[in-house]
Amino acid sequence: MSAPATQTAPLLAVESLDVVLGRGWRANQVLSGVDLAIEPGEIVGLVGETGSGKTTLARTVTGLVSPAGGRVVFEGTTISALRRGARRAERRRGHLQLVFQDPLRSLDPDMIVADIVAQGVRLQGETDREAIRQRVVGALGQVGLDASVLPRTPGQISGGQRQRVSIARALATEPRLLICDEPVSALDASNRNYILRLLDQLRTSLGLSIVIISHDLSSLAGIADRVAVLYRGRIVEDGPVDQVFAAPRHPYTALLMASAPSVRHDRELSPQQVTRTVAEAGALPEDLLAGLGGPDACVLASRCAFAAAACTVQPPLVAAGDHRRVACHRHSEWLTLARSRAAGGQLTTEGQPR
């Protein structure tokens, strides 16, 4: 994030992160040059569809995956360089916590809630049973659960409660930053809003920073201050949420907004207005098409309706307004072009080939 003269270091700084998964011929660059900064007390949404690398980003920040390039700095320490004992010690501090996507998998089915929530506290070295109990009950209280769930196993409580137990486990160690990977994807609208509201309240009451990683916009709707859009391993746009959604600077962001279902039909653009149709693809010269599909091209070039010769090279993420960044060669022109495109009727090219 472009913070020109800010003096206080951000809580979390991800710098030029490159992550490669797999070895040898199966190696796959999942993240490229990701730059992100999280300040204390803010909620940042990270939006990305399948294959965007968002879960890998969460796993890399927390140290489950080692980056091939770049680093992750948390509270002044380069945590991506820590190993073994030092890394364990840093984790035990409990200032950075990850809430996994699926509580059915991330909670041990044979442990009772009391032990699950207490695990982090015990790992911090706390041995006094009463102190542990108080922190557990406190954490559960913060997510709206009472002591009745303490003796139950995850299988004996509802899905919404499980998700809250998962959050409570993360809260028990009094973290400064919570990374939530798809916290509400498996919930219906009402439960989803409940959890999101809860996260917002936690941010206010505990001064927490929260990163919400999601594949769709409705999962961070209403509570995020900033949003970063991830596509195929790169941040294509980020900035204050109101601005990004009111006036997206990147065609992919516009595509996300155009695709998101809504009970109100007041969207400005349709998905067809930003994606290239089969006919248009056919009309492009062969070598340009090949260049746009190449490995160095802009990540959206193979689908983008506005891809031009310049787009055979990946655009850098540059400042584009107040605290906004965008990675698009044509970010100032595509919107006008889009408005004049037909709103529907043509078939678009199918999504990314595997």
């Binding site: 364990r88 695990q119 769930v149 004996q156 509802s158 919404g160 160690t173 498996a186």
Partner: protein, 311 residues
């Protein structure tokens, strides 16, 4: 938002109850309890002295005085089998114990100790599995002296690979679980992870394997004593009785059936118990979704159901 009422019984209790409901489990347990009693009290419970030779009562069939007849030296077969239970069973357990220790500890550790250790452990396992136990036993008794205790050591060593493989597979499955990752993210050491998460889940698999391996060990004991390896006559063993019976088949054709059935029934009971243990393990760990109401929705109502993965 309140959840549903908790189940009335704890998960462990329900598992035990399900286990006890199966008739095969009942029979198996009964047989094994009987064998256990004989192991401890066989000599005292035997109606007659198993070593008493009675030249006047050779090859007698089952009768009032000798319930299972007599052998080629006039000794009471029933008493010999009862007294022989201890030696057979204890040495089988000795072998299983050795196999258990040598197999399960590396089996769990290998998942956490890195690729090289795993590679080495697997190759050692492969090598051990190629050895035929009879010859190994002969070699060891030749080196350490002829005794059943010594003879069961090689059997134990050769059981270890099975324990290793099965424990390793079970541990792998649980070590990759997301809750293990969650624990690691909170700073848990590998040892903590094993203690808190893995051990409890691997124990049932180990129990099942132990039951099966005990059956195998018992067969091994019987065969070794049948061949005369490790036997110090006149101490009775099941295999020894079987062996001498076969030598005198012409005089007493019914005789080998008796120890044979005893061995088979005990081995069968162990395997049946292992099966029952394995079958009931599937139920009762996590609440199963109601297939009628929650068919294909990943979404949460008030109640639990499975969730699909979103990449």
């Amino acid at each position: 938002m309140s959840g549903p009422k908790p189940r009335k019984r704890k998960p462990r209790e329900r598992k035990a109850r399900t286990l006890l409901r199966m008739p095969s489990a009942w029979i198996a347990i009964a047989v094994l309890v009987g064998v256990a009693v004989l192991t401890v009290f066989g000599s005292t419970l035997a109606p007659q002295n198993p070593l008493t030779v009675n030249a006047n009562a050779l090859f007698q069939g089952p009768g009032a005085h000798h319930l299972l007849g007599t052998d080629y030296l006039g000794r009471d077969v029933l008493s010999r089998l009862m007294a022989g239970t201890r030696l057979s069973v204890l040495t089988a357990l000795e072998a299983v114990g050795i196999g258990l220790l040598l197999g399960t500890i590396p089996g769990i550790a290998t998942v956490f100790l890195g690729r090289w250790f795993d590679f080495a452990a697997n190759r050692v396992t492969d090598a051990l599995m190629t050895l035929p136990y009879i010859f190994f036993a002969v070699a060891v008794t030749a080196a350490l002296g002829n005794g059943l205790v010594q003879a069961m050591v090689p059997v134990g060593i050769l059981l270890a690979p099975f324990f290793f493989r099965i424990t390793r597979a079970a541990t792998l499955e649980h070590a990759r679980a997301q809750y293990v990752e969650a624990a690691e993210l909170m700073g848990a050491s590998k040892l903590h992870v094993v203690r808190a998460h893995v051990l409890r889940k691997v124990l049932p698999t180990i129990a099942v394997t132990t039951a099966s391996m005990t059956a195998a060990a018992l067969l091994a004991v019987s065969f070794l004593t049948f061949l005369g390896i490790g036997v110090q006559p006149p101490a009775p063993t099941w295999g020894g009785v079987l062996s001498s019976d076969l030598a005198y088949l012409a005089q007493a054709p019914w005789a080998p059936f008796i120890p044979g059935i005893l061995i088979a029934v005990t081995v069968g009971a162990l395997n049946a118990l292992a099966d029952a243990f394995r079958d009931r393990r599937g139920a009762g760990t996590l609440a199963q979704p109601d297939p009628i109401i929650r068919t294909h929705s990943t979404l949460e109502p008030a109640d639990d159901d499975r969730q699909s993965q979103v990449a």
